[in-house]
């Protein structure tokens, strides 16, 4: 069941990603500018890593590397979600790299290094590991956000992301230190065992302070109110494919860690235990964060005129919905939501990125006027993704939201469900506003159609098919998640 030793299989996906990243960089150094070769290599590495992750399915649950790495069903599921996000990002960057004349090698390598951090974060069973993984992610993404060097907004985006990211990392690491002080361990499984009993009074106070710091740190990473202020600026300034990446894969990874630390380690189990005491506090705080994120994100999104900013606020709102699942402690619902969100949000951003053209020329919502019937290959998929984000039945967005709300109701949070469903009504307004502009308004001047590459069309087809498949026939994915639940590491329960 458990092994304390070194097992390269346990970090197989991460190794493949890292080696591919290094390879892409080396190739770029010797024969630069071959986008096709670098891209295909990166995509192949991602797919291979996905295969390695799936191969771990039957291995778990087990622990490796001095119990710092965990292999269980949820790690595998989340890893696949992250790699799916990475793969789709590689495809949607295709046209963008040509237009912006960006050297492709480093770009793909950074995406891969970011993915290494994310998959490691999902596999972490130790707070030190969590921190290490988070830093790996952020270093790669800082650079990606500032990738359009000559563009001022991109620089601003990178700098903001860096400063606030560093700030939140400080909170996180301080929180880890305090928690370590209280429990004398950074290992999550060990910690879960300790807090299910009782601790001295001083330790409890220390632990509370540490957990509060951790909450701030995670709150920053997954962009929830009131730790969200960096999001709109960073999402707006970063190159659009990078924004697509930032809003999906790292978020999935962040929430996976959030779940492991809060819903499992500090789970409110055992009446009178330290964990129970802790939970009564963090549950209240996270409830507030969830309500604020949903409401604030949705209402501010209404006022946006730039589609990237609008989607940034929408992603804050979605983080609020996901927190409902964290509170309901329903892993499977959160995992499913993040899978769905990754597909539909990447789909949206893929079209936004293509339509924006060089230097983000067309990112105002008003620029979408007349897109509707002029380029139906773009407008109809975008409408489908937006409708799915709004949670209309028949699309994956509905099943995902329904599941979260259902779990929350069952777990005793009816007020969150009510606030959640009313928030979806608010969100309908701004998602459909884009549809209105696309289909119901005529453009001021004739708009040029954009050429579609084959990789792009393939991405759209996959994403649209995914939205409908998960929206109409989710049973198979449910079955997988159900199996994953049984593969949850014993030490973690």
């Amino acid at each position: 069941m458990e092994s304390l030793g070194i097992s390269y299989r346990a970090i197989g996906p991460e190794l493949v990603l890292a080696v591919t990243g290094v390879l892409v960089m080396l190739l770029e150094a010797f024969s630069p500018g071959r986008k096709r070769r670098d891209g295909i290599l990166a995509a192949a590495g991602t797919v291979l890593a996905g295969g390695m992750a799936l191969a771990l399915w039957d291995e778990g649950p087990l622990l490796a590397f001095s119990r710092m790495i965990i292999v269980d069903g949820f790690r595998v599921f989340f890893t696949v979600v992250i790699l799916l996000g990475t793969l789709l990002t590689i495809f949607i960057s295709w046209t963008f790299l040509d237009e912006e004349r960006i050297p492709p090698g480093e770009y793909f390598a950074l995406l891969l290094f970011g993915a290494v951090g994310m998959t490691l974060l999902v596999a972490s069973n130790d707070l030190v590991m969590v921190f290490l993984a988070l830093e790996t992610i952020t270093i790669a993404t800082y650079v990606l956000a500032g990738y359009r060097r000559e563009d001022l907004r991109s620089m601003e985006s990178a700098l903001k992301y860096f400063i606030l990211g560093a700030f939140s990392s400080a909170f996180l690491v301080y929180g880890i230190a305090l928690v370590y002080g209280a429990t004398r361990t950074t290992n999550l499984a060990e910690m879960a065992r300790l807090v299910s009993g009782s601790l001295g009074r001083a330790e409890v106070v220390l632990l509370m302070a540490g957990v509060a710091m951790l909450l701030v740190g995670f709150g920053f990473k997954v962009a929830t109110v009131p730790f969200h202020v960096w999001t709109p600026d960073v999402y707006e300034g970063a190159p659009t494919p990078v924004t697509a990446f930032l809003s999906t894969a790292p978020k999935a990874a962040g929430f996976a860690a959030f779940l492991r630390v809060f819903s499992l380690t500090f789970a409110p189990l055992g009446i009178g235990s330290v964990a129970d005491q802790l939970a009564s506090h963090w549950v209240a705080v996270v409830t507030a964060m969830s309500i604020l994120s949903m409401t604030f994100g949705n209402f501010i999104a209404i006022a946006q005129t730039n589609i990237k900013r609008m989607l940034a606020y929408s992603s804050i709102a979605h983080a609020g919905y996901v927190l409902i699942g964290v509170l309901a402690r329903d892993w499977a619902a959160v995992a499913f939501y993040l899978l769905v969100y990754t597909i539909m949000n990447l789909g949206c951003f893929a079209i936004v990125a293509l339509w924006a053209r060089r230097g983000d020329e067309r990112v105002a919502i008003a620029d979408y006027a007349g897109l509707g019937f002029r380029q139906p290959m773009l407008s109809f998929p975008l409408a489908i993704f937006l409708v799915s984000l709004a949670g209309f039945p028949g699309t994956a967005g509905f099943i995902a939201k329904f599941w979260l709300f259902k779990s929350a109701w069952g777990a005793g949070f009816p007020e969150l469900v009510l606030i959640g469903v009313l928030n979806t009504v608010v969100s309908v307004y701004y998602y459909l506003y884009v549809v209105i502009v696309m289909f119901f308004r005529e453009p001021k001047e004739e708009v040029a159609r954009v050429p579609l590459s084959r990789a792009f069309v393939a991405t759209l087809v996959v994403a649209v098919a995914g939205v409908f498949y998960l929206g109409l026939l989710p049973t198979r994915v449910f079955a997988i998640l159900n199996a994953a639940q049984h593969l949850l590491a014993v030490g973690m329960r």
């Binding site: 509170l327 619902a333 209309f392 028949g394 779990s407 777990a411 289909f439």
Partner: protein, 532 residues
């Protein structure tokens, strides 16, 4: 095909929509071909209504022609694809299948832009509305209920008149507020029933048998969670403000579907959910809803009286006529509910046809103002005859369909145990006078008198295509007015069943269960299981 009749009925339009798309993409079909193909496709569900009516057994009260396939399982979802028809839904399905081909015919020349998309949306809408009427699983019902909004939104927003965007957004936001709360109510009801099924007849059966007893507070909340969605849809005063905008700005086909089918989903929902699932709350709030219904009836009629815009007039008259539907439902007598269902059908045909009449006038003159017309009986005799019949049917002239529905509702309300039932009857009856007043006055201003505008002197009469759409409607209102029994006979046993399930006077005294400490953070599914 036999045992999948309802599925064919529901999804034939979707298949048709895909066919249209294929015809355009693969065969480069012209717009005329698209129209013909769409009409042919829309006749399939109408044709399937024949076998459905033949198979339907009037003596059975429960759902018939049932199909049930497990759909989504795991994590306590237990959603079935579960469809069937009973007396309440049977005729509404027929109505839906009838109005779509009629809409296609009437839009033949009116829709010039994006013809393919128009017909695709119309057909998808048909799947949505038929699905709402046949779904017997709450989850499935909700999916159809919401899916239908998207095509309607596009129909208003793309092919509507000047203020179409405002109207489309208002329509969707109003409806979404209602359905969001209904979703919460569905989830809650699911857990209260033990978290095992979304099956509506099964839950209703549990309520009837006393296996599922809700404490009064919960029952009230759930009642309103469902009722609000339905009352917005009906629409009942004071939730009606979206309707005039949506109707006036929608293209003719949109108005036809909106008035003919979408409003009925509200009345249907009350009969399907509120009455059988929350009998005590229904009893408690019947007086209030009755009062709102009476206000709608009178208010709608009064506003119609002063409308200068023909389409708006018909829209407000809908508020008035749909008030009768709610009044009949909350009366919960056999006659009241029979009347409500009949009134839904009658209104669905007469008012839709009146919207077509208004559409024909506005196509010819590009105005909907009543003052712009006058003396049309001379240049347009056939049109005038049809307008006359349909307007009088709407105004509930005896021997026409409107009379049967409203009369049954009034008698049903009078004999009900509803506290001020007789007062309601008297007040609602006065509105019948008002409705005669505004309809006759409108007829007079549009059709009779001297021709005041030169442009009206040579308006072409209805052509063959317009007759094809309007004449069947005029015939139907007469037939339904003279021979209502074939319809009423098929709705009767379902209505009697509803009456038994939701009796007017419930004198069962039961002590509410003691409030239990709510367990926060319990595992999913562990919420209150209040079964007796």
């Amino acid at each position: 095909m036999g045992e999948h009749l309802l599925s064919w009925l529901t999804f034939a339009p979707t298949v048709g929509a895909l066919l249209l798309l294929a015809a355009r993409l693969l065969l480069a079909a012209t717009e005329e071909t698209i129209r013909r193909l769409a009409l042919a496709v829309s006749l399939v569900p109408l044709g399937l209504c024949g076998p459905m009516l033949v198979t339907f057994d009037p003596a059975t009260s429960g759902p018939q022609m049932v199909e049930r396939i497990p759909w989504i399982r795991f994590f306590g979802f237990n959603v079935d694809y579960f469809v069937g028809v009973d007396g309440v839904s049977l005729w509404l399905v027929v109505l839906s299948a009838l109005l779509v081909p009629v809409s296609i015919v009437i839009s033949w020349r009116a829709i010039e832009r994006h013809v393919l998309e128009f017909h695709i949306f119309l057909l998808l809408l048909e799947t949505g509305v038929i699905g709402v009427f046949v779904a017997l699983d709450m989850f499935l019902f909700f999916i159809f209920w919401e899916v239908m909004l998207v095509p309607m939104y596009f129909l208003i927003g793309i092919w509507g008149y000047e203020r179409r965007i405002y109207a489309a957004v208002k329509f969707i936001i109003y409806t979404m507020v209602g359905s969001a709360l209904m979703l919460a109510a569905i989830i809650s009801l699911y857990y209260l029933n033990g978290g095992v099924t979304f099956d509506i007849p099964a839950i209703a059966g549990n309520v009837r048998a006393g296996r599922l007893v809700l404490d009064p507070r919960t029952e009230r909340w759930l009642f309103w969670g469902f009722a609000l969605a339905f009352l917005i849809k009906v629409p009942l005063f004071p939730f009606h403000t979206w309707l005039p905008d949506a109707h006036v700005e929608a293209p003719t086909a949109g108005s036809v579907i909106l008035a003919g089918i979408l409003l009925k989903m509200g009345g249907y929902g009350l009969l399907r959910f509120n009455l059988p699932l929350f009998p005590r709350a229904t009893e408690e709030f019947a007086g209030l809803l009755g009062a709102l219904a009476v206000i709608s009836i009178i208010y709608g009629a009064l506003v119609s009286l002063v409308q200068p815009d023909l389409k708006k007039l018909i829209a407000y008259s809908s508020v008035s006529h749909m008030g009768f539907v709610v009044l009949g439902i909350v009366a919960r007598t056999e006659m009241g509910m029979q009347g409500a269902i009949f009134q839904m059908l009658s209104h669905g045909i007469a008012t839709s046809a009146l919207f077509m009449i208004a559409g024909i006038l506005s196509e010819r003159r590009h105005t909907r103002l009543i003052a712009e017309f006058g003396g049309l009986a001379r240049p347009m005799p056939v049109f005038s005859a049809l307008f006359g019949i349909l307007a009088l049917a709407s105004a509930a002239l005896p021997t026409l369909s409107g009379f049967v529905g409203e009369f049954l509702v009034l008698v049903g309300t009078y004999t009900s145990g509803l506290a001020p039932g007789r007062v309601y009857t008297v007040l609602a009856a006065t509105a019948m006078i008002l409705s005669a007043a505004y309809m006759l006055w409108t007829l007079e201003r549009v059709l009779f008198g001297a021709i005041t505008r030169e442009e009206n002197r040579h308006l072409p009469d209805v052509n063959a295509r317009e007759r094809l759409a309007l004449v069947p409607m005029a015939v139907l209102v007469i037939v339904m007015g003279v021979l209502p029994n074939p319809i009423l006979r098929r709705t009767d046993s379902a209505v009697l069943e509803l009456q038994r399930a939701a009796p007017r006077t419930i004198l069962v005294h039961w002590t509410p269960p003691a409030p239990r400490a709510r367990e926060r953070l319990a595992l999913p599914g562990a919420e209150v299981l209040e079964r007796r």
